[in-house]
Assembly symmetry: C3
Homo-oligomer: 343 residues x 3
């Protein structure tokens, strides 16, 4: 009996299929420290227990993207081990902060399948959920990937394309229980800009850059138990390069956005995201943001900003797409998310 699994192919997915992902993970202060070593993360809420308590939380939570990465990592063996491309995200919501000591597991439901016209691949949509040790959902999101067929001759399934929303509305967003920004200490947080200081359409160049090393992106990706070969094995690609996990670029860009968005403390919604170009070690990653929308939240002192976060390898800031409508070759990531910020 073969002991290793070749992973699922397109034929193995059908709408309604539930995937219980393996290997639950207890996250601790160790993962928290590593997040600060691997990314230039400085948001005060994820840095200081005292600051978090002053904002009504029991202690400093893990970075919101860490919860995303853990859920993502667990889905890899069942969802994307044979994926050709990670095509998009939608309807991502953070429902509860993750604290040191929590144990996370993940489940996904297949919500759509559609064979491509070439007959060799198809698109699979899954809604993934991360749960803590009390069975509470901590985050959820939809992603869709292009997956190889096992056999090009196998019949195409009836296409099911889920009806996904372009963006979450503010009423979909969940504010962590107890969060209160009325006594927020702007000096301690690092910037004085509050919700009302940001205008729709405003763009911010986050100034700093980080040159990526192989050891760093591999440690980050392993930390979330994401073991997709292309991130670790330099013999997988003809050019001998290791493809950097797209989530590493997400965390790097989000951390860089501190410089100009230091008070956008919590990520609560993921409207969409595209990994526009592959990222490799040696590249210097920069970031800029654009304010897309604003909303007041039903929590004391809490507002929300809808932000576009663009990670690049340089070039002119604020350039996202070329005249032909395609992403500029400098753009690595185009992320559309909601963050909570003091009003």
């Amino acid at each position: 009996m073969a002991k290793t699994s070749p992973g699922r192919f397109f034929e193995d997915y059908h709408p309604g299929l539930i995937l219980d992902h393996a290997v639950p993970r207890t996250v601790t202060e160790g993962e928290r420290a590593l997040y600060h070593a691997l990314y230039p993360a400085r948001h005060a809420l994820q840095s200081s227990d005292d600051f978090a308590r002053a904002c009504g939380l029991p202690r400093s939570p893990l970075d919101d993207l860490a919860a995303f990465h853990i859920v993502f990592g667990k889905t890899v063996p069942d969802v994307s081990i044979n994926a050709v491309a990670n095509l998009g995200y939608a309807e991502g919501r953070w429902l509860r902060p993750v604290y040191p000591g929590d144990t996370l597991r993940a489940r996904s439901e297949v919500i759509g399948v559609k064979q491509n016209s070439n007959g060799r691949t198809g698109i699979v949509w899954v809604r993934s959920r991360g749960e803590n040790q009390r069975g509470e959902t901590v985050m959820e999101y939809v992603r869709w990937v292009m997956v190889r067929k096992r056999d090009a001759a196998s019949p195409a399934p009836a296409p099911v394309v889920p009806d996904l929303r372009d963006a979450l509305s503010p009423s979909d967003l969940v504010v962590p229980e107890g969060l209160n920004f009325t006594n927020y200490d702007f000096a301690l947080a690092g910037e004085r800009h509050r919700w009302g200081d940001y205008e729709v359409g405003e763009r911010i160049d986050h100034v700093d850059g980080v040159t990526i090393e192989e050891a760093e992106h591999m440690m980050a990706t392993r930390l979330w138990q994401n073991t997709a070969k292309v991130h670790f094995d330099a013999t997988q690609r003809e050019d001998g390069k290791r493809l950097i996990y797209g989530g590493h670029v997400m965390s790097l860009a989000r951390a860089l956005s501190f410089n100009g968005l230091a008070n956008a403390q919590l990520v609560v919604g993921l409207n969409g995201g595209t990994h526009a170009n592959p990222c490799f070690a040696g590249e210097t990653v920069r970031a800029w943001s654009e304010v897309i929308d604003r909303a007041e939240m039903h929590a004391p002192g809490v507002g929300a900003l809808r932000l576009r976060l663009v990670a690049t390898t340089g070039g002119e800031p604020f350039v996202r797409k070329n005249q032909d409508g395609k992403f500029s070759p400098n753009v690595l990531l185009d992320l559309d998310y909601w963050a909570l910020i003091p009003r």
Copy 2:
């Protein structure tokens, strides 16, 4: 008075000598997180407190090899700082899991010495033990190393060669107190294969590969306070390469073996091991296993597999030695160990 020590030479060892190794070490959730960042470790018992409790343990223990590395690291200044080669291991047993908060120290007893015919080096056998803060032995093993003589003219000691067993028998293995695999969750652990599914002689190619970086092997080796120069100082060898700590390859291969041996949760016996060829940064490490023996254990639902774990830098899987009986140049490590797995 010279303040730095040149380390011990062959003349400084005699059977019965007790070496109390320096610098006790408290291990925490930080070391646990780093282990997951440095190796693609996914065994559920070392990943989730809840999974560990469902198996009868108080919480998730540190990886068994971490305990080995800590003991090994502590012995380096007294045993192998002037060693020419690390020749072998035998009679290794894990007697108690190590949990975050435990403080480990190490002691060794010299159990054999034998001068080599060249008169310039000799072989020293030591039995090393790691103890926790309650004085309980957490693991023990024998290793033998080739050590330089201080003075080639000094007389050879009477040779004492310990009588070491080729392999531990199942009755030598210690099952952690409370371990119970009767309600083991195979889905959550990642694979469905149980003890009875593995046949003696069966071989498993673990598929994945990891290209090693200098920063990673140095961080891993430092974490265990192993400060042997060749691992850190690129000026020590004429080729400017840093020799990777053999234990780094052990942990890497063991983590890679998850793919096919996900349920072989705990390492409890080390029958023997050879670092067949040196490993350097830039190499891509792969692994395969062979089932050597099987045993039922006196614990609910618990079986044991004796496994050969071979780490390579590629080449044909399952090739270990050449026709001349020597290790293939692709083989880095040949490890013979016992692991516990649900029956």
Copy 3:
């Protein structure tokens, strides 16, 4: 409104100005483990809870230099983001150990300003203090930096040059409450040399070397939330090199000094320090020490050594300056500090 800050220029400092630095930081066992992974740190007091308790402390504290780095990192955005050079340190004192769970913040007072004769830069002196969650000062030090003027035409301020002491006297040093070295276990600590074994003028070559990797110095520097561009962004310098944070060399040299100064357990005073030459990845760092002074302390079994710690990239040991009185090009760091050691 611009959302990112260009940082302060020379004109923005005046004596008496108080700078409340942003982003408090809770340090945990995760930071402790990373310190051991990033540096060859082996001092027993920072390695073992049991050893620390046997010396009268409640548990093993973080490395003293970690507290220095955290305070330093917090001051960067307000003090040195536009600095041309980090010129010196003085009057540094560690007042209380930092334990996992502590939350640190930092404040600085400007204590001197002096415009340079070129009219384009000036020197700023600040006294920085790190405080824990109880408002207790854990450490303090003076540093001075050369800062660009925003406008070369702006008038020079009245020069104020603080009167700084060449060295702390033993009576300035603070012994952590409860510290007691009367039952100190020299075997467990790794060396037998006590306070009385060190003579003023004695020099120790610490033997070992570490070749530095980009990933390691960036992770270390990020861990302290020091985000000065030159350490992370390879496009900042014309030669494409990332300048290594001077504090990384301090921690590396201090860790290397274990070999010969294993019992110099706690750093309690920083008399002065010079980053003599820039350090880059690929260089192999070595260290030597010289005993400058000795003092008995008013605590059971506790003595103090004043030590010069010199980090180099090789060359002859014990060479610090050339015949012209300038630092040898091999010297990276010249640090003058007080450490506590058993009498």
